[in-house]
């Protein structure tokens, strides 16, 4: 099991979410974060005051995957979050020791698969197909 943490552009979040769902990763946790990377600082002007925005708004997505899902997950993020400009974000992968589902007490891989995972994945694939046809 791995904890995959990715930091992406807020404006790419809808695409990233759809790609993750299509890959079968349906259990995700989001946070709004701000941070500093290689991007240029944004300058804002209010009358005579110039304000430099040193930190950029990002979205952090955390998810724990069983081993077969790790590579598809990384591929899904790469394909959906990349714009090619500086500031696209990072993916961090760390090992996880133990997972417990609070509702049932199930542990590890049994605790990881969301009960409606298949349903969500099928819907995401169908939506993508319809989008492509239109």
């Amino acid at each position: 099991m791995k904890l995959i943490t990715t930091i992406v552009r807020p404006e790419r979040l809808p695409e990233v979410k759809e790609a993750l769902f299509r890959a079968g990763i349906t259990g995700i946790t989001l946070s709004r974060v701000s941070g500093h990377g290689g991007e240029h600082e944004v300058l804002e002007q209010y009358r005579g005051t110039a304000v430099v925005m040193e930190f950029h708004e990002k979205v952090k997505i955390e998810m724990v995957c069983s081993e077969p899902f790790v590579e598809p997950c990384i591929k899904a993020i790469l394909s959906s979050a990349r714009t090619g400009e500086v500031g696209d974000g990072k993916i961090f992968v760390q090992p996880i020791e133990k997972v417990v589902r609070i509702r049932t007490g199930e542990v590890d891989n049994a605790a990881l698969t969301a009960v409606n995972a298949q349903e969500v994945q099928q819907a995401a694939i169908k939506a993508a197909g319809m989008g492509g046809a239109a």
Binding site: E44, Q45, Y46, G48, T49, V51, V52
Partner: protein, 427 residues
């Protein structure tokens, strides 16, 4: 009802409507200033305008109107009309022959309310509220009321010199702007001035406030005709011209300097244009009004750029926007005024009467001197008795909590866990 025959229904309706419009300006000012400060001081800043609706509303009826518009001497209106005694529904031809004196009194009262509130923009985020309220009442009584008498009161000395001030360029904007400069200087800069970014917390509120100011300013300027007539229409049109031309000019200056047109700039520009056209609205042509709006914007824009490089913490640039644009408007009135436009006015420089510029300059100088010295004395008095400056810690946590015990945007956030209900004993 022989007296009643002199009252014009149309004139009275317009002046009463204009009074309500000017009242809305003070609310607009609360939004305009409130949006420009930080979240932690939003309520305190808005209350600095709102409280004037109360205290100056009362002060005006008790003493203000008498000092400003009583038939006293050239300098002072006297105490004959204290508590509106003798201010009835019959017209007073010295001011307006066709509207009840009470309508005139209420219209002018709205001016008396917004003028000291304008000053608050210079001293936001650092003044004790009770000290501010004391300052407000003293300033209205000792500065605004006599000044209004000089320019508009029966027999006022500046009026007799022929100074033109249609709706309050000197009385309202120069006096407030200069007093703001003195107050900002005496009170000192905010503790974190030039250390942290002091950016507006809500630009949409700024735009809302600027819109309300523009709307209300039609009452301010066109209502100053004190009748529903051609002069009111002229002032109405010129008011719009001044605001529109200044907005466009400000946007272009923004574009040239930073490459972008800003929303705060558009809001500031339109207000500056309204300030500039205020003294001129009833005396100049349509094209002159456009020129006055554009020139006022240039003056204020330049002044703000210079001010922001100094240590002077006139937080919301009241001096640049009201003091200097008001001065530009007052002097340009002396340039563009024409008797072809308003026979009751005067000819200005372009109509061959250079002396009018000198008269305007006299009015500006007298206003600046009186407002500056008066503000310094009043603020010294308030500092010595009540203490004007908020403490360092309250300044850091914000004046909304320390002065009002409220927050502009209450809520414990997503977790909502840091708020509990205080026990209230059940009877």
């Amino acid at each position: 009802m022989t007296q009643g025959a002199a009252v014009s229904a149309g004139d009275t309706a317009w002046v009463l409507t204009s009074s309500a419009l000017v009242l809305l300006m003070t609310v607009g000012l609360a939004f305009f200033y409130g949006g420009l400060v930080r979240t932690k001081n939003a309520l305190n800043t808005m209350m600095m305008s709102v409280v004037a609706l109360g205290v100056i509303g009362v002060q005006w009826v008790l003493v203000g109107y008498s000092i400003a518009f009583g038939h006293g001497n050239a300098w002072f209106g006297g105490f004959a009309w204290l508590g509106f005694r003798g201010v009835g529904i019959e017209p007073d031809p010295a001011y307006a022959a066709t509207i009840p004196l009470q309508a005139h009194a209420m219209f002018q009262g709205m001016f008396a309310i917004i003028t000291p509130a304008l000053i608050s923009g210079a001293i936001v985020e650092r003044m004790r509220f009770r000290a501010y309220v004391a300052f407000l009442v003293l300033w209205a009584t000792l500065i605004y009321d006599p000044l209004a008498h000089w320019v508009w009161g029966a027999g006022g000395w500046l009026q007799q010199r022929g100074a033109l001030d249609f709706a309050g360029g000197t009385v309202v904007h120069i006096s407030a702007g200069v007093s703001a400069l003195v107050a900002a200087w005496m009170l000192g800069a905010r503790k974190d001035f030039r250390r942290v970014p002091l950016a507006p917390h809500s630009v949409p509120l700024v735009l809302l406030g600027a819109g309300l100011l523009w709307f209300g300013w039609f009452g301010f300027n066109a209502g100053s005709a004190l009748a529903a007539n051609g002069l009111a229409a002229l002032a109405f049109v010129n008011t719009n011209n001044g605001a529109a031309a200044a907005l466009v000019t400000w946007a272009l200056l923004d574009l040239i300097r930073t490459g972008k047109i800003t929303a705060v700039g558009a809001a500031t520009g339109l207000v500056v244009g309204l300030v500039g056209i205020t003294p001129a609205a009833g005396y100049v042509s349509t094209l002159a009004a456009l020129a006055i709006g554009a020139l006022s914007a240039c003056v204020s824009y330049t002044a703000i750029q210079i001010r922001s490089r100094t240590r002077l913490d006139d937080a919301l640039d009241v001096f640049s926007c009201h003091g200097l644009a008001g001065t530009a408007g007052a002097l340009l009135t002396g340039v563009f005024a024409s008797k072809l436009i308003n026979p009751a006015g005067a000819d200005g420089l372009l109509a061959g009467n250079a002396a009018q510029v000198a008269v305007q300059l006299l009015a500006v100088t007298a206003t600046v001197a009186f407002a500056a010295i008066g503000t310094a004395v009043i603020l010294k008095l308030v500092q010595a008795t009540l203490g004007a400056r908020a403490g360092v810690r309250t300044e850091m946590t914000g004046l909304d909590l320390s002065e009002h015990g409220e927050e502009a945007y209450f809520g414990g956030g997503a977790l909502g866990g840091n708020v509990v209900v205080q026990e209230i004993p059940v009877e």
